[in-house]
């Protein structure tokens, strides 16, 4: 589904990614872990198509398409979804309005019929219940005045409504208390299926207690230094990252 080959990227003249390789197949769940500043968020942003990054080398294919030449909205319409680490507040834009516009843009792209307001609202309300979100959040502006936890739930709500093929979760666990974390994790688990893949970027192992990954990768210094199964995450939690760095240097 996603194939990243020898990716090099820089921002503001500074090299961030220095030869990153990653293969993700449908049905898989990957966790990318690593110390702060290792390039985890950069990777998520580049995959979603954010401007400001210079790709100096390498390629990314997604469902057989050259991902790096696609506009952010094309990626979204082809089923990619980034749950932001810091969801953007957009005063004046209604939360449900955005969701409906996004939903219908994606359906239109797939040649599907647009959903009318009544049906759409029913769909969203059902998903909101799963996320244990207050219905009042729908009529508010996108993320504006939301608490940290509400923002993260809202991201996952969008994901559940848009039903992406590839979900990228950027530090989705940060800033969540344990109850909220469980709700968010169950939302993500609900999406897992043989046709979909999930890539989680996270600093802590905590989230992985609730969403069991098939693969765990350590990203440091702009490269994947080590890959393994979920036991690697447990080891990282216990021993920190230094030993991986030392191992890689050796």
């Amino acid at each position: 589904m996603l194939s990243i080959k020898n990716l090099h990227a820089r921002v503001a003249g500074k090299d961030i990614l220095k030869g990153l390789d990653l293969e993700v197949q449908a049905g898989e769940t990957h966790a990318i872990m690593g110390p702060n500043g290792s390039g985890k968020s950069t990777l998520a942003h580049i995959l979603a198509g954010r401007e400001g990054y210079e790709i100096t080398h390498g390629s990314v294919t997604y469902l057989g398409m050259e991902l790096l030449t696609m506009a952010p909205e094309e990626r979204a319409r082809e089923g990619m979804f980034l749950a932001f680490q810091y969801p953007v507040e957009i005063p004046g834009v209604n939360n449900v309005y955005l969701l409906k516009a996004a939903y219908n843009a994606i359906r239109k792209h797939r040649g599907e019929e647009q959903l009318d307001a009544v049906d759409f609202l029913a769909l969203v309300k059902a998903k909101m219940q799963l996320m244990e979100m207050d219905a009042s959040l729908l009529s508010r502006a996108v993320n504006e005045g939301f608490s940290g936890g509400e923002k993260k739930r809202n991201e996952i709500l969008q994901m559940l409504v848009l039903e992406p093929k590839l979900a990228l979760l950027d530090e989705t666990d940060s800033g969540l208390d344990i109850d909220a974390l469980k709700v968010v994790a169950s939302g993500i688990n609900r999406l897992r299926s043989p046709e979909r893949a999930v890539v989680m970027v996270t600093h802590y192992q905590r989230l992985l207690d609730y969403i069991e990954p098939d693969f765990v990768h350590v990203l440091a210094g702009g490269r994947i230094l080590k890959s393994g199964d979920k036991s690697l995450a447990v080891e990282l939690e216990r021993r920190g990252y230094d030993w991986v760095l030392a191992e890689a240097a050796a």
Binding site: E73, A76, G92, V93, L98, A101, A105
Partner: protein
């Protein structure tokens, strides 16, 4: 008539026709008032760019047009003005075409108890003496050449009075229609509004330019709010793309009164508004919300001023501009007089500059002569938030839709401050009409 500039001569000559066309029987004080105002205008002339208040707005294009006074009544098709009507049942609607009352387009007289609405023409005929004190220019405001011009050609308009304690739920709508004329006209409507102690009212003042209308509307609204009175005012300017508009709104506020102004500039070729509230007694509050949408070669200038003249007064101002061409000017002045302690004033002006053919000049001003006050202002000129744009695109929206959504959101923040729900709906409808019909979005 020596020493008179070429620019004012047509007005002086037009005045002769105007005066002879008026039905005889005007009280002598009124004729004197008009003549005195004309003399003030012709001797002072149009303001020049050397005057600080006109630094960014040239009156040259206005001077080049020799507008003539509207002597005969014009007409307009009911269907043409339909879009500017408040759909929700207003208490009453008065329609004016090229400055003259059009009874056929207006609703019947209001029968609401405690509300008195009259055309100015009727009031001057039946009850002139009582109006004299309102029409004599207030000190400090007499220097304004456009008010002088309005006074010289004083003929029609509206007089609204709400008795003490009367709370009106339904809005009043005044609709001023400008029509296409072989020779462009100058119209000078005057609106007098007086709310008694504790009275509540909602006023919608709409200026609509029909296709090809290239007239000058020079309106003057005077509002007086007694103790505890409360007025929500929506002023919607939708002149034609060739229309000239000068708006003067002066508000005097007494103890614990509340004035909420919503000023929308969606049309006009050349527009200059001055909105001025004087908070004369404690606990008075003024809220100014403004939105201007400017494109092509249009020029829209909004000057606002709030005078805090008494302790414990409050003001809150938000003006926003979407500028996809032409030139937008904002000048917001907040003055806190000596002894007006515990004043709480905040002001902000935000602008989206969306085109290389556009210019924004903004000047928020604070003048403070008291120490125990809380005052702040801010102004920004910028573009759409790149992060928000990316966020929307990452959810599948194309750049045009995302941009349109953000522009709309930027504007709606102002409209959301309108407190009467049906006015909010009306304003949103008018705005989306304007945004759809004007190409304000241009990629640079």
């Amino acid at each position: 008539m020596t020493g008179m500039s070429d620019a004012v001569r047509p007005y002086a000559e037009g005045y002769k026709d105007f005066e002879s066309a008026l039905a005889c029987g005007a009280p002598p004080w009124l004729t004197a008032l008009r003549r005195e105002a004309l003399a003030r205008f012709t001797s002072g002339g149009f303001p020049g760019e050397r005057e600080e208040d006109w630094k960014y707005t040239s009156t040259r294009s206005l001077q080049q047009r020799a507008f003539i006074p509207a002597l005969a009544a014009s007409s307009a098709a009911a269907v043409a003005i339909e879009p500017a009507r408040l759909r929700e049942t207003p208490a009453c609607t008065l329609v004016f075409v090229d400055g003259r009352h059009a009874p056929a387009l207006s609703t019947a007289e209001s029968t609401i108890n405690g509300l008195h609405v009259n055309t100015l023409a009727a009031a001057l005929t039946h009850d002139a003496a009582r109006l004299e004190s309102y029409l004599v220019p207030e000190p400090g405001w007499s220097a304004d050449p456009f008010i002088a011009l309005n006074t010289a050609f004083l003929r029609d308009g509206v007089v609204i009075e709400v008795d003490a304690g009367i709370r009106l739920a339904q809005p009043l709508q005044l609709l001023f229609v400008s029509t296409r004329q072989a020779h462009p006209l100058a119209c000078h409507p005057r609106i007098l509004v007086r709310l008694g102690a504790g009275a509540h009212g909602v006023l919608v003042e709409t200026y609509l330019g029909l296709e090809g209308a290239a007239n000058l509307t020079n309106s003057h609204t005077q509002i007086a709010l007694e103790d505890g009175a409360c007025l929500e005012h929506l002023r919607l300017q939708r002149e034609s793309p060739e229309g000239f508009h000068v708006g003067r709104v002066h508000v005097t506020q007494q103890h614990a009164s509340r004035y909420l102004s919503n000023n929308l500039d969606l049309g006009g070729l050349w527009v200059r508004n001055d909105l001025h509230a004087r908070l004369q007694a404690a606990e008075a509050t003024a809220v100014f919300n403004g939105l201007y949408v400017v494109n092509a070669h249009r020029h829209v200038d909004n000057h606002t001023r709030i005078d805090h003249l008494a302790p414990h007064t409050r003001s809150d101002e938000l003006y926003r501009g979407i500028v996809g061409g032409g030139r937008a000017v904002f000048n917001g002045k907040v003055v806190v007089a000596k002894h007006a302690i515990k004043t709480d004033a905040s002001q902000s002006n935000d602008n989206l500059l969306l085109s290389r053919q556009a210019e924004i000049d903004t000047k928020p001003e604070l003048e403070i002569y008291a120490d125990d006050v809380k005052c702040s202002h801010g102004a920004t000129i910028g573009q759409l938030d790149e992060q928000a744009l990316f966020y929307l695109r990452s959810r599948g929206l194309d750049p045009e839709t995302a941009r349109g959504l953000l522009i709309g959101a930027f504007a709606v923040t102002v409209l959301d401050r309108i407190s009467v729900p049906e006015l909010r709906v009306f304003a949103r409808r008018q705005l989306s009409h304007a945004l759809a019909s004007q190409v304000v979005i241009e990629l640079s």
